[in-house]
Point group: D2
Chain length 420, copies 4
């Protein structure tokens, strides 16, 4: 079989630069992530074609056998998609036609690559949203338990990166737990909006002269409902992935902020928290180094994730309705962003239980300035209006500070406990 | 009263460049949008202070009188926030202290500007989310009704901006309606997650020596629940606004895509749709021009909105927990983005009913190529496998096209109906 | 004169929602920033019109008198642009026509609002690029001088936010100075590319039946050359502003990174550097606080600036050639971004000389681990291959560390000098 | 050799999730793109080490032999970097040590992975900037030539996507040519700023007890100068790549805008321009389709490129000085963005000469409304003030239009030539 006739639409004689430019990395992404989802959708489609009389029962059986074979090959890493095939849709149809003949020429009946691709990605999207939700919920729960254990461990509370008021390690860790749990809730809302079956919309205009039964495929794939308007199906490509990513961005933002806290709390200057050696890295030049690279990558991944959101949203914003090849470009960003999100949450699931608390350093850091606000409220409790109490406590604090400085100078000490 | 002592924290002698740089436009935004929300939160706070015995009943009455006064002044445009005051919190407290004395010095008891500001913004956020949801739902419904009227009007369906298959104006318009209605659903999910009261978290570490009753303020302001963890309150500043914006982005993306369709459909080349003169603009040099500037601005606003999302998310991603002044910068972007979203949806509410359909142009555009897929399915209905039917219809189409071209050349006509 | 006939293109009866939506804040920005640039361009245009015989000498004199008047009014804050006028072009032409009659109706001869607006913005752009360049160069030089004074002050060098190897305050400060000076160079390159006169391109298609002399306006405004291709003029709107912003982004990125270093070096945990009281702010609840808000805003402004770049680039990318109203939206972002950049550099010009170095804290922080790499190179100097020297120094360091820990435990001390 | 001891810094027992998360795709990118640049830098480093007496002449010879070997293996696809090696630096050093023993342990003398990696990327960056510049210049020249040939072909000029005034295909194409040529100029400025050698800065703090001769490596690699300040070297990682990308963004923005014009000009509605069949693609369902996918991908790639710029800039903005692992994440985005830019320009180099001009369609589109502005200027030439001429031509045009409509209605024709 000639390579150049590989494509579903023909494509003989396509300029090699055009082929390489338009396909991009799409064939690789399909090959790595999408094959099982296309098989699931194709299976549902075949069942429906059989129900409406396009396929015979034996043809359906053959197709389902082929789908199973391909899935097994893929799981072993032996089902590849080539650049001249462009995508896994072509690769799968070709496999069937070459091996099982005639029936392969029927499987595309009643669908277009548009709805085929969209359905595959929709299934992938729903899986990812569900997985991120599960991970966020589990991480939130486990962080909440750990926080309870650490409820009593004192910790300076910071605002503006300066010591502010006393808090505890438990309160700090629980604040992130609350966030991860709220994120799980948000993902729920997104999931139930996204749970719509686009299969049967064909190229966005349905099919004439053939009565597709969209309820059959909806049930077979486990969708909550048919996405009725066929043009809305087309319009939702990229847009639904965008909704999914935005719902995933809350756990990512939280994780990057957790990472930044960890970078500060593990610095030699503070050393409130630490992780066992298996979590830290070293230097090729400085033998003494123990670095928390995992948190730097986590901090950066929050930004990388954000740029992938931008990539998808900017690609679709201002794009006319109807399929545009631009939409293909949203697939890579989406797959990469999902992987960043799940790998970040999975890593945190092992990090949180491993956190080591350096209580002696925390206690040393609970300096006098953290308690000045308490002085204000003692005065308030005694009946003084807040503003006056504030002014009095402030004057008192700075008087003591000046005195301390004078004494330190005399004694040759360094007044580190008192800011500025 | 000396201007330089205006700030709640003192601030005498602050370098004017530092004041100007750190305050930025925040005082202006507070003055324009935030005063009523701060008053609502302050009222709830005062009620609570009275219940726990910090304020006497007469002091509460005085404060509530003052809040009412300020609200009335603000509604008339007579309550201003100055740059040296920094924010409306200071402006309001100063107004009360100057006019009503002692009681003004008590209103800040048990809160910090952190939770005060956060509560004000949370109330604003919930209002905006609810308003966008209402607008999206109304627009969706009205577009759906209009779509029903236009269900029969034929329209070429486009993919890759090339004519693809037949559709109708109604299907096209309804596809956007579905999106706006789904957006309303998403906003629901976001709203119920965001509906938490941060007041009482003070600077993120609560208050000692004073028992705040956070249920009282929660009920007074109508929140669904207390946001319990005080550090989570702090962590949610900016992050909750980000969640709100992301939920608003779906209607914005849809609107920008609708605008792009309208730009194409109102071009002289197509002229399928039009709007009355009161919607179009002209040129300072070309007397004949009628331009659809509103759709160009709508298309651009989808991108501007996206960059405001980026602004907020990038500001908070990787930021340590605890208050940072960086968070102030999220307020301007948030307020601007909400305004873009509500004004876009309000404009569309008048645009959709005013749409004029040029049926004669639509009919002329229903060219032969739109029906080639139907030929395929007629062959499929006759029992031919899809791939063979596709190949046959394709060969037939291009044969007819070549023939048409030859005839056109002979007749001196131009074969515009046939692509390429 | 009826308000609704205010616009250059007519605009009677425009729907108020369309007017408000399409004009946006453009009239305010024009009124605040653009009037002098439009006057400069209009003056050059009038001179040219007189040279080619469209205006008489006395008409030119009248116009120039009017331009001078408007400039003086504007400088006193007495020249306003209203929303129904849309922009300063209309406001200026109306002022002249109302006050000086007939001649006002001639000033728009041979131009469109497209090239008029573009020329005004180009002049503004070049001014801003030149100003940022000047500020970056001055800041770089002044930081370089300060760095020389501080060359001997020891400072721990950090990688991964962990102590790495010894450096000095001078080397650290000079590294930013180098960046600011390199930024000045980059801005030079951008300036010379951007220095092209678009006036005379009209709506992007020139003018027939009238011979404009574009060299005259080029010389009058001080541009390096005519931007010859009239459609390229149109294409460069927004795109040239994008080039300018990108050249400004280097000093902004540098400044935000400097701010982050300052946040860490001014923490109580380190306290290597400080600023006088006039640079720091306080808290409304915690009397003891001294916060470096200026650096938090500077850090955030680096991100806000980035999102404004995104706003402009995303607005123009994928936009067809020829004027689109979308381009108007780039003006606000551009003006705001320029202001962020110049105000940041101006603030740093007072910050750098005011930096206070806390040598006693710096010296205390020059802990043993910073010198382990030196041990490696002593062994290398003695002839040992690097990898072996590295392994030996590493083993030795961790042996000493374990020993130190044991001793600390016995003595009840806390081994803070040794990481983890 | 145990797998786990592969890393330059040790790394025995690193948690597999931490390894996978921190290395990410870096090993793959190094293996695909960076090996030759690291070899070039290592060769220069070895030459320097020999000159200062760390290596003997025979050791240098051995190393250079090894570098040559590795390069040849790499060119054949036989030199791989594994995930446990993390990067090509480790892979290269291990290859040498395993094959040539002792000398491999010396090659890392006087450098850190920080400056090694930075030098490798700097060399790659300069190569890419030079290549993009070359491509932009060639494309600009070739488009300029093609534009000259097409100077006479009439084309409607559009503003707001509505017909505005007459122009020509040549003027249109030349406007892009001007942009690509200006881009080449900008890239020149960026190149000369970036052309600095960071090798010898080690981990950002230089090396004690060993006198590196940085002029030797600078000369050997062909850099214009040493990047003197060792901390500035560190600070420039990511930041210099950002500068390079920003300079590349002008040709990308231009190309995406060209693509959008092409999408409109190749629509059936206009059909002004076309490309031969080898440039167009088809549909899996609609046999008649010829789609310009290449321009859709080009339009989208402009946005993808923009998001990669965002990714890099947001990763570095607000990052403290000194090496952070976050910086590793800028490598993938940079490599991908460069590839998008060069492949886009290379594709355009074949597209521009292949453009087919459909003169008959262009002529048909030169409708009456395009010439109304000429009517104005005829009146101006006759002495009428511009504003009056404008009003007169406008009134006249709309009068004729109404008349035409009436006649069309009578004749049963469709008044497509007249807008709205």
């Amino acid at each position: 079989m000639a390579k150049q006739t590989a494509k579903l639409w023909g494509g003989e004689g396509l300029h090699p630069l055009v082929e390489a430019y338009t396909v991009g990395e799409d064939y690789r992404i399909d090959g790595e992530c999408m094959v099982p989802y296309d098989l699931k959708a194709s299976d549902a489609h075949a069942q429906m074609l059989q129900k409406i009389g396009v396929l015979r029962a034996d043809e359906l059986a053959t197709l389902q056998k082929a789908f199973k074979e391909i899935k097994e090959l893929w799981e072993k890493g032996d089902f590849k998609v080539t650049i001249s095939q462009e995508d896994c849709h072509t690769a799968i149809e070709q496999y069937i036609t070459e091996k099982y003949g005639e029936v392969g020429k029927k499987i595309h009946t009643g669908r277009s690559r548009n709805d085929q691709s969209m359905t595959m990605i929709r299934l992938f999207t729903l899986d990812q949203v569900k997985e991120v939700q599960r991970l966020a919920r589990e991480l939130g729960s486990s962080a909440q338990s750990r926080a309870k254990e650490l409820q009593a461990a004192p910790m300076p509370g910071y605002t503006h990166m300066q010591r502010a008021m006393p808090t505890t390690v438990g309160t700090w860790l629980d604040s992130f737990a609350c966030g991860w749990l709220d994120a799980a809730k948000l993902l729920d809302g997104a999931f139930s909006m996204l749970d719509q079956n686009p299969l049967g919309s064909a190229a966005g205009f349905g099919i004439n002269h053939l009565e597709l039964d969209r309820e059959v495929t909806t049930k077979a794939m486990g969708f909550a409902k048919v996405q009725e308007n066929v043009m809305y199906c087309g319009l939702s490509r990229g847009m639904f992935e965008n909704v999914a990513l935005q719902a995933m961005s809350l756990p990512m933002v939280l994780s990057s902020r957790f990472a930044t806290d960890m970078m500060m709390f593990t610095q030699q200057e503070a050393l409130f928290l630490a992780l066992p050696d298996e979590f830290v890295t070293g230097s090729s030049i400085m033998p003494q180094k123990k670095n928390y690279d995992l948190f730097e990558i986590m901090r950066a991944n929050g930004k990388v994730f954000g740029s992938l959101q931008v990539q998808i949203q900017e690609t679709i914003v201002g794009l006319g309705s109807g399929y545009h090849r631009d939409l293909q470009c949203t697939k890579k960003a989406f797959v990469e962003a999902c992987a960043l999100c799940t790998s970040t949450l999975r890593l945190l699931q092992v990090v949180v239980p491993a956190l080591q608390v350096r209580e002696e350093n925390l206690k040393k850091a609970m300096t006098e300035d953290l308690y000045v606000t308490d002085e204000v409220y003692k005065l308030v409790a005694g009946g003084k209006p807040f503003r006056e109490a504030y002014a009095e406590a402030k004057a008192d604090f700075f008087k003591r500070k000046v005195l301390y400085r004078l004494q330190s100078d005399v004694a040759g000490l360094q007044g580190g406990d008192f800011l500025i």
